[in-house]
């Protein structure tokens, strides 16, 4: 069977890969958007924190025999706590300064983390097995759908939408949105904004680590895994609009799919299509598709 002269097998295969990539783009850009919204910091360490999530799962398995499912819970908490330490000891000092300082600090931290891990673990990937419950797949007739990949898409969607719900529809989220606009006033109402900022950073970092654990069985565990991904994710964030929650989710999945389809129809452009879209969006709508002008 063919559509537009392309075998459906290849089309759906690339569509699936696009959705998988999109699931990671969405999770990572969501964390970046939450952090940028409240902290005004462009968290360049995000890719390294995603890598730490994957390594954390690897260590838990190798060192303690703790498997995938527990890692999915433990790694985000552990890496999130590390994020909280970074916020308390370093980022906190930069809030009064220009964005650039936060970007430089987090970029430097990313280089340090990636350098240290490359030193000890080299740059070839370490294998991480797909959990038994999710090995194998479904034959859908027109294509084969590996269970683990289906799980990644569903889990990412659930976590993204749950985050959106908490931020946009709950009392806690209203504090977060209000503090994003005017932290001094929210604090003067009696809310401990500095603590909220710390926990928000921890949560955003935890999301990156969660994505890292999910990525471990697909992309292998590699010190550079985040560095390669984060550049694309920043393009996604720019296209979606800095600080927009739904924007991060929709653009994450959408651009993953567009990238996948480009691989089918015009493979030469598949590595650049997201950046071309970014340039066009920046020219037409500098605040991003879902962003508000500040």
């Amino acid at each position: 069977m063919q559509i537009f002269g392309i075998a459906t097998q290849a089309l759906f295969g690339q569509l699936l890969i696009g959705l998988i990539n999109g699931a990671f783009y969405a999770l990572l850009s969501l964390g970046l958007a939450v952090i940028f919204g409240l902290l005004n910091i462009i968290n360049f360490t995000h890719g390294a924190q995603y890598m730490l999530g994957a390594f954390c799962a690897y260590f838990l398995l190798q060192g303690a025999g703790i498997g995938y499912w527990w890692s999915l819970l433990v790694a985000p908490i552990a890496v999130g706590i590390l994020g909280i330490v970074i916020e308390k000891t370093m980022l906190k000092r930069l809030y009064a300064l220009d964005h650039l300082y936060g970007l430089l600090l987090t970029f430097g931290l990313a280089l340090v983390l990636q350098g240290v891990f490359t030193n000890y673990y080299g740059s070839s990937g370490l294998p991480y097995r797909i959990p038994d419950e999710l090995s194998g797949g479904f034959n859908l007739g027109f294509m084969f759908l590996p269970k683990y990949r289906a799980w990644v898409i569903v889990a990412s969607l659930i976590v993204c939408l749950a985050t959106w719900f908490v931020i946009e529809r709950t009392k806690l989220g209203s504090y977060l949105r209000a503090a994003t606009e005017n932290p001094a006033l929210v604090q003067a109402f009696g809310i401990n904004v500095p603590r909220m900022v710390t926990l928000t950073y921890g949560f955003g970092v935890g999301l990156a680590a969660f994505a890292g654990v999910m990525a471990a069985p697909i992309y292998q565990v590699n010190p550079q895994m985040g560095a390669n991904l984060i550049i694309v994710v920043f393009a996604v964030v720019v296209i979606g609009g800095m600080g927009s929650i739904m924007g991060a989710i929709v653009t994450g999945f959408g651009l993953g799919v567009i990238e996948g389809l480009t691989k089918v129809f015009y493979p030469e452009a598949s590595n650049t299509v997201i950046f071309v879209i970014m340039v066009i969006v920046l020219m037409l709508k500098p605040a991003g598709l879902f962003g508000k002008e500040r």
Partner: protein, 250 residues
């Protein structure tokens, strides 16, 4: 050093001889290098409506912000119900029962009217219910689902005052609530302040418009060059008109 005795809220007038309900002593404040308050000193008794009058830039808004703990640097003593608050973070001050309605109103655009209204946490029992707030400001009830900043200026002001009435705070700091509003809205805000006084709230009001201030206040403190330079009881306002005109430069 012995702690000052704690005065019960709503206590008798006799109690304030021992320790005032609210006392500011030698308050200094800075924005970066610029020294804005130079030793502000005044008292408020429970249940009073007191204004800070003064020219633009005299330090009225900075005084409110210093009381609320939102200026970068402040020194001096601020005592509320026997507690020294001059060194506390603003969220701690709010929890003692002081609430602030800022000059720019501070309505959040990413929150709807209802979320704006319910945002400030309840810090003490005895605040108004949402129904009581709607009685004061019926307009808000119809606009609950609207985006906060889609309201008219007057409605935004009502929302900004309304949301701090839920919290149980007993001392309200209102910064120019009538600024830029139509006369009919100014009258409504005047009635609101009278209603709050009747309910036992204590109000510190910053005003440029002393004609409005005269309709609601018990006493007026005149602020000039970062200091309180005079106190005029409202009953003696007429006799002091010439002096006041000189202070305010009107």
């Amino acid at each position: 050093m012995a702690d000052a005795p704690v005065v019960a809220t709503g206590g008798s007038v006799a109690a304030d001889a021992a320790a005032p309900f609210f006392a500011v002593r030698d308050l200094n404040a800075w924005y970066g290098e610029s020294h804005v308050l130079h030793g502000v000193t005044f008292d408020i008794h429970p249940g009073e409506v007191v204004t800070l009058l003064g020219r633009n830039g005299a330090g009225k808004t900075t005084t409110l912000k210093s009381i609320m703990g939102v200026v970068p640097r402040r020194e001096g003593s601020i005592v509320f119900e026997g507690r020294e608050t001059g060194k506390l973070a603003s969220n701690r001050i709010a929890h003692l029962g002081i609430a602030w309605c800022p000059e720019e109103r501070g309505i959040f655009s990413s929150l709807n009217v209802e979320e704006n209204l319910l945002l400030p946490p309840v810090v003490r029992p005895g605040g108004m219910t949402v129904e009581e707030i709607f009685e004061l400001f019926p307009n808000l009830k119809e606009r609950l689902a609207s985006q906060g900043t889609k309201l008219s200026g007057g409605e935004q002001q009502m929302l900004a005052i309304g949301r701090i009435l839920r919290t149980g705070a007993r001392l309200l700091l209102l910064d120019e609530p009538t600024e830029g509003l139509a006369p009919v809205i100014v009258q409504q805000i005047g009635r609101t302040i009278h209603a709050l006084k009747k309910k036992g709230y204590t109000v510190l009001l910053v005003e440029q418009n002393f004609r409005f201030a005269a309709t609601v206040a018990d006493r007026h403190y005149v602020v000039d060059h970062g200091k309180v330079v005079d106190m005029i009881p409202n009953a003696e306002l007429d006799r002091n008109m010439a002096k006041l005109h000189e202070y305010l430069g009107v």
